[in-house]
């Protein structure tokens, strides 16, 4: 018997709210399969649910018709109605931003503004002020921002291009690098919605200055760092001086970063983080927290017979000066900083892919990659690591000559130590680098048999010369699935 309309609505709600059992979802599927009207009911209800979740302006803009204490003349309802008409083309990150961006994209407007719509009711007293403004263009065309203008708690700044310095009451200084969207939260905290900023917190009152992104909370311990938030939810912090604690939701203890360290946080539940550190520039490959190259990990050529993992270059060409790919599984890094024969690298200007077959499905807990290079001609450029790591758990690896995600590869993490050198003041590029990919809350980053490093050449910033990175070792710490006693790697 068909359920009543009310019962259908409540069955739909149970699935939308994520509290339906498998049986209930199966029953609803059957109903939707059989009845086109039920499908429409689902779509109407799901779209309402979606809009309530993704359109924050519903909650921050006074509703048309509602009496607004701060708006006795009723201007806000008219403004809201106007905004509504452009909503469906708008971005969730800020309607005015999207509106101006769309005009700019069409070449109609020199982009420009700042949005005074606060997410929360602003306090009267400013918590920060604009300081130096360097060729700033704002998303709102009517913006008139001057040095000295105050910013209240909850106020949003939408910078299209240029650099805006913002001084907080605590003494912390933020340089916002356009395009960026940013909110002041308090006298000692802010939110970076998207874009990049540099933060300097050197006064006693600014100790603990906090920048929130969608995936991380960055707490400054008297220092200087650059924070980046990408549109897809990826966040990153690069520390140029002092120390920063990175706190991730649901993870008890923060990760502490020191000068020269960087941490990227991938979106998604597993909270995959990639940590980048500089080494001691010796064959010992010592790093602040990342362990030196290991011969006891799951990706080591010393494993016996058919369990021995296999590494192949499956895309791109290795340089004729490169050592064999097995070098990356020999349990050690290079013996000196310019030893191509002990390194693995692709031809300059070529991307390449290295495919590791672990020979069985494993819970991969950590993937470390090491590089070392420096000489007078290429100033440490070939130590820079730029790669995306993918995984696959099936028996046969998917093809690599087309789009990897469509082929079935899962993106695990992105590493780019080049980004680090966008800090200001520039930090000298480390000649020896390690990146370590783990899940922030402990546990595996995923269950895979195959790992694929998609390696991108590094770019020398001044000459723009494109170079292949000299990798010295790949280490994979993993546990065989279904055999918890047989731990491989720490």
């Amino acid at each position: 018997m068909d359920p009543s309309a009310e019962e259908l609505q409540s069955r739909i709600a149970a699935v939308l709210d994520g509290r339906a059992s498998d049986d209930e979802a199966t029953q609803l599927s059957q109903l939707l399969r059989d009845d086109p009207a039920a499908r429409d009911a689902w779509l109407f209800q799901a779209d309402l649910h979606a809009r309530l979740a993704v359109d924050e302006t519903l909650w921050t803009t006074p509703a048309p018709g509602a009496q607004d204490r701060n708006d006795p003349d009723g201007v806000a309802p008219a403004a809201a109605a106007f905004q509504e008409s452009s909503l469906l083309q708008g971005s969730w990150i800020g309607r005015r931003a999207a509106w101006a961006w769309s005009l700019a994209a069409a070449g109609l407007l020199a982009v420009s503004a700042w949005n005074l719509a606060p997410r929360t009711a602003p306090a009267e007293e400013p918590v920060a002020r604009f300081a130096r403004l360097d060729e700033c263009r704002w998303v709102a065309s009517d913006a008139s921002v001057q040095t000295g203008d105050g910013l209240r708690s909850g106020q949003r700044v939408e910078l299209s291009s240029g650099r805006a310095e913002i001084l907080f009451a605590s003494g912390a200084a933020v340089t916002l690098i356009g395009p960026a969207i940013f909110e002041t939260l308090s006298a000692n905290s802010a939110r970076l919605v998207i874009g990049q900023l540099k933060a300097v917190a050197q006064t006693p009152a600014s100790k603990g200055f906090t920048v929130q992104t969608r995936t991380a909370k960055l707490v400054d311990i008297g220092t200087e760092f650059v924070a980046t938030a990408s549109a897809d939810g990826y966040s990153r912090v690069d520390v140029s001086l002092g120390e920063v604690d990175v706190q991730l939701d649901g993870v008890a203890s923060p990760q502490r970063l020191f000068a020269g360290d960087a941490l990227g946080v991938e979106p998604g539940e597993r909270r995959v983080v990639s940590r980048i550190e500089r080494g001691d520039d010796t064959p010992n490959f010592r790093f602040p927290t990342i362990e030196p190259p290991s011969s006891a990990d799951a990706a080591d050529a010393s494993a016996p017979g058919r369990d021995r993992p296999m590494l192949q270059a499956v895309f791109g060409s290795l340089s004729k000066h490169s050592g064999p790919v097995e070098t990356l599984l020999d349990g050690r890094g290079q013996e000196a900083k310019d030893t191509p024969e002990q390194s693995v690298f692709f031809n300059d200007e070529e991307t390449g892919m290295l495919l590791l077959d672990l020979k069985r499905v494993m819970d991969v807990r950590k993937v470390n990659s090491y590089s070392w290079h420096g000489n007078v001609f290429r100033d440490r450029v070939r130590a820079t690591q730029r790669f995306s790591l993918y995984g696959f758990r099936g028996d046969e690896p998917p093809p690599v000559d087309g789009p990897l995600l469509e082929a079935g590869w899962e993106l695990i993490a992105r590493v780019d130590t080049e980004e680090y050198f966008r800090t200001s003041p520039a930090v000298r590029r480390p000649a020896q680098q390690a990146s370590s990919i783990t899940a922030a809350g402990g546990g595996p980053v995923g269950r895979y048999r195959y790992l694929l490093w998609h390696v991108i050449p590094s770019v020398e910033p001044t000459t723009k010369r494109i170079n292949g990175t000299l990798f010295g070792e790949f280490d994979v710490y993993a546990d065989p699935v279904g055999d918890p006693a047989a731990k491989q790697g720490r």
């Binding site: 994520g18 499908r39 689902w42 779509l43 509703a63 048309p64 708008g90 469509e406």
Partner: protein
């Protein structure tokens, strides 16, 4: 060298263009994904995956055609991929039903957009307790457990109030559509 500079500059321009298009479409794409993957956090993950594929294939995008329509195809692919893998943890709709819904979603696009134009006004008419609960659930992203504690209600009562509030909104929207239609 100049050729390389030009290539890098082209790449940068292309990326900027992509970012503009993507940011403009992001909310609409999220709504599309949430018709199939209803949890907003999951839907954001799906969209993040789609963004990676979109950028990889951006050179194939025909700018004479709407970006959203092109992007929806990728979002659907990623949503189905998500339901096959990550979605196992939650009760979900059958894959053939997902196909049917995705197809119908496209046909209903204009109707859905028109309906939601009335949402701000209808939201303004909700009794404050219902509005506060919806705001906690959707805007502050509080869990139902947290809301139950905050409002001193049982879990079941919170779910019921949420549903009553959404039904009231749907009825208000339906009324507005009728009066205009």
């Amino acid at each position: 060298m100049e050729a390389k500079d030009e290539a890098a500059s082209d790449e940068r321009r292309s990326h900027d263009r992509f970012m503009r298009l993507f940011l403009q479409s992001e909310r609409e794409l999220l709504r599309y994904v949430m018709a199939i993957v209803p949890h907003v956090g999951d839907a954001r993950d799906v969209l993040q995956e789609a963004a990676v594929s979109l950028w990889a294939k951006f050179d194939q995008y025909d700018s004479a055609k709407p970006f959203v329509a092109w992007a929806c195809r990728f979002a659907l692919f990623e949503a189905k991929q998500f339901l096959r893998t990550e979605g196992r943890r939650k009760a979900k709709l059958a894959s053939d039903v997902v196909e049917l819904l995705a197809e119908r979603r496209q046909e209903l696009d204009e109707v859905l957009n028109a309906r939601l134009l009335h949402l701000p006004e209808c939201l303004g008419k909700l009794p404050e307790p219902q509005r506060a609960l919806l705001k906690g659930y959707y805007f502050d992203e509080d869990t139902v457990e947290a809301l139950a504690k905050k409002f001193d209600r049982s879990l079941e009562a919170v779910y019921k109030t949420l549903q009553r509030a959404r039904t009231a909104l749907a009825e208000c929207i339906q009324g507005k559509m009728r009066s205009l239609g």
